[in-house]
Subunit: 428 residues, 2 copies
């Protein structure tokens, strides 16, 4: 049933019917938080064994014989660098292990760029009249928040089914030297669940940029976070940049926040040795090194990439039913109505729902009246402003299946109700 | 035997005698690293029980019921804030728990000041023609390195037996609005082992400053690190600033790096609520929060300030003999010679040795010929330049008693030899 084919009377009837269902939910005074991509308790339980691999009876020595309990190890212990080099398909010298937060590594990288510039920069960015970043959107709100904090102007670029619109990207970076970087979540993107195609990777790696220090901030947050047996494949970006003769163009970031524990994981960055050596010098002034015991905990628990793969299959077994539930309810309630579109991701943490233009804020607001907290409408765009006011990010992992079912049913009702209001208004 | 009373012939004879002792050490091809204030293995063993208080069979819930394994907790869990508030004598709202490094918290605070300014600033510091810091010296080399990284001009202020020379400090900050801060290690100072007197604390808190955002960087690193039963007492600085009507003047820093594990401790900062709320806003963009499991580990292991006190007594039992050994060898070899002075600290991690003017670099260099690595001469002063070239920082904690004995005997020989060379040159 395509809503646009319905008459005013039919729409009014349908509205009343849906409204009474919505009122029934509202009277239940629910409180369901669907706002952030957090693992659920069952997922966290998968890693509790990590708390047992380092006890007082275990050796606290790292592979090279140093005491993990003492100072030292600026960019990580050898075994952690080796493991994450394999995960990110780079060499061990192209890895810096950080603290518990890849977001902090990205923030700090931009902070250093503002004050000192990057390896390829002639000038600290704060000394320039303007610094701009390309923000393929919908994207990750916390990336955009970092740009806002540093006064970096954000330019929205459309997301296509295989990554950012490269025609837009290539034109912009060729013409404007103030464009210093681009934010990318290249695999199972936040929120679309898109994985960049080989062509997009190659074009990003090889495109002509006006800024000589143009940097791809490659947030490979969901690199092993598959939901299917036939996962998406992402072309390795650092290798692509090297092949294209631009080895210093990319800085990659990742973490175990959604592999082990969200607050107590290991963050990591990767890039060319020249890029990282420049950063290591500044890092040596900031810190004597990240928590090495926690690195040992991770390397002893996860061992190698095969064990990580097996571990991620357990995550998938827990969260795939949640994704399926959301997709199934969306399908039942909204399919064929011409009032919403959504993605079916092969991995990651989100389902991205697009309503009719101009409806997302009203939908999110209405859902909150029934006790369902969704990510703020607009959050997935720079400055929190979705130009078409249509994108809603659904985070299925944290709630229980039953909570999720209720929340998505309410969300669908809100999409239907707000869409009918819009269609009725359009008819007037 | 005062060296200056000796004749040229006597000095030459003594030189040959000492030289042959030095050559004997040299032939042993030793390798003794005395360069950094690191805890020794025995000290690290004191905290291994901390690795057992959080296992897979323990609750990972914090006191407020939240799951320490998941995201959240920007400025720390309640029980950690409560514990460190007691240690630093501030209220729980005046505490931010960080990652594993108080150095990183200091670095990041200055980084934020450069880009955004501080709570009391009108202008980001990077937009100002000059930013200067007072550096009571000898002081902590890593503080000075942070200033160098950010291009902050360092002004050396003399250390007196009860803290920085306040006459110098008061005059400088009253006259020069570019002076934005002062580095202080107020208790068992690095390297002098001095604890600031109440008068110094009060004068710092109440002095008139030309910069309205003048900030005391109060690195209370050794606040519970006593070596005696009759420890130094430091007047609480935040309270003093409040009393003086300057509540936002101080930012305090500390950590458990030399209480629990040096790479896997808990760092903390403290200050007025206004100051910290300003920082919390920016921190919320940098990170979702520090490692909460490690905070739980610390609060469950250390429980309260009484337990910390008892724990620090065990540290003292291990390292006090090392301090005593150094002091005893210095006394035997150098006392009454008129060629060196040193402090006898009641706590902290260092013994500060002053040679005759112009001798420190030569002493450190000579010691390295015999395989003894000391902190680089000059490191305890801004830009690595000791204007009188006389200060040597001795870090007694890490080596074994036997290594320490050898290293300090060699150091004393070097001081004697280089001093005789100087005295002989002066006679010419």
């Amino acid at each position: 049933m395509n809503y646009s084919a319905l008459s005013t009377a039919e729409l009014n009837d349908l509205y009343l019917e849906l409204q009474s269902k919505f009122d029934a939910y509202k009277s239940r005074k629910l409180s369901l938080d669907m706002s952030r991509g957090k693992p659920c308790t069952e997922q966290l339980e998968l890693s509790v064994g990590m708390l047992d691999v380092i006890s007082s009876s275990d050796s606290l020595k790292t592979r090279d014989g140093s005491d993990s309990r003492n100072y030292g190890g600026l960019d990580g212990i050898a075994e952690a660098k080796e493991l994450f080099a394999k995960v990110l398909k780079v060499s061990v010298n192209e890895i810096i292990i950080g603290g518990n937060s890849s977001l902090a590594m990205m923030h700090d990288t931009l902070s250093r760029a503002m004050i000192h510039g990057l390896y390829s920069s002639k000038t600290p960015w704060s000394k320039l009249p303007a610094v701009k970043f390309l923000c393929p959107s919908p994207g990750y709100d916390r990336h955009f928040a970092i740009c806002e904090l540093f006064g970096i102007e954000m330019i929205t670029v459309d997301m296509l089914p295989d990554g950012p619109d490269m025609n837009q990207v290539e034109k912009l970076v060729r013409e404007d030297a103030a464009i210093k970087g681009i934010w990318c979540v290249p695999k199972y993107s936040n929120p679309d669940g898109i994985t960049y195609s080989d062509e997009v990777v190659d074009r990003l790696a090889s495109m002509e940029t006006s800024a000589e220090d143009f940097t791809i901030f490659w947030d490979d947050a969901y690199t092993v976070h598959h939901l299917t047996d036939n996962p998406d494949r992402l072309k390795p970006m650092l290798a692509a940049c090297k092949e294209a003769g631009n080895p210093d163009r990319v800085l990659m970031f990742s973490s175990t926040s959604k592999i082990s524990f969200s607050g107590s994981g290991i963050a990591v960055m990767a890039g060319s040795e020249s890029n990282l050596n420049y950063i290591r010098k500044q890092l040596a002034v900031q810190t004597i090194g990240p928590d090495k015991i926690n690195q040992l905990r991770h390397t002893r628990f996860f061992k190698d990439t095969d064990h990580i793969k097996a571990h991620m299959e357990k995550h998938a077994a827990i969260i795939k039913p949640k994704f399926d539930t959301v997709l199934s309810i969306l399908e039942t309630a909204l399919s064929g109505g011409g009032i919403a579109e959504w993605n079916k991701p092969n991995g990651g943490y989100f389902i991205s729902l697009n309503t009719l233009d101009g409806c997302a804020r009203a939908v999110v607001s209405m859902a909150s009246e029934a006790g369902v907290t969704l990510t703020k409408a607009g959050a997935t765009f720079p400055y929190g402003k979705d130009p078409r006011d249509r994108n809603i990010r659904i985070a299925p992992t944290f709630p229980t299946l039953s909570e999720l079912t209720t929340a998505i049913e309410i969300l669908c009702l809100c999409v239907q109700l707000i869409s009918i209001r819009k269609l009725l208004a359009d008819k007037e």
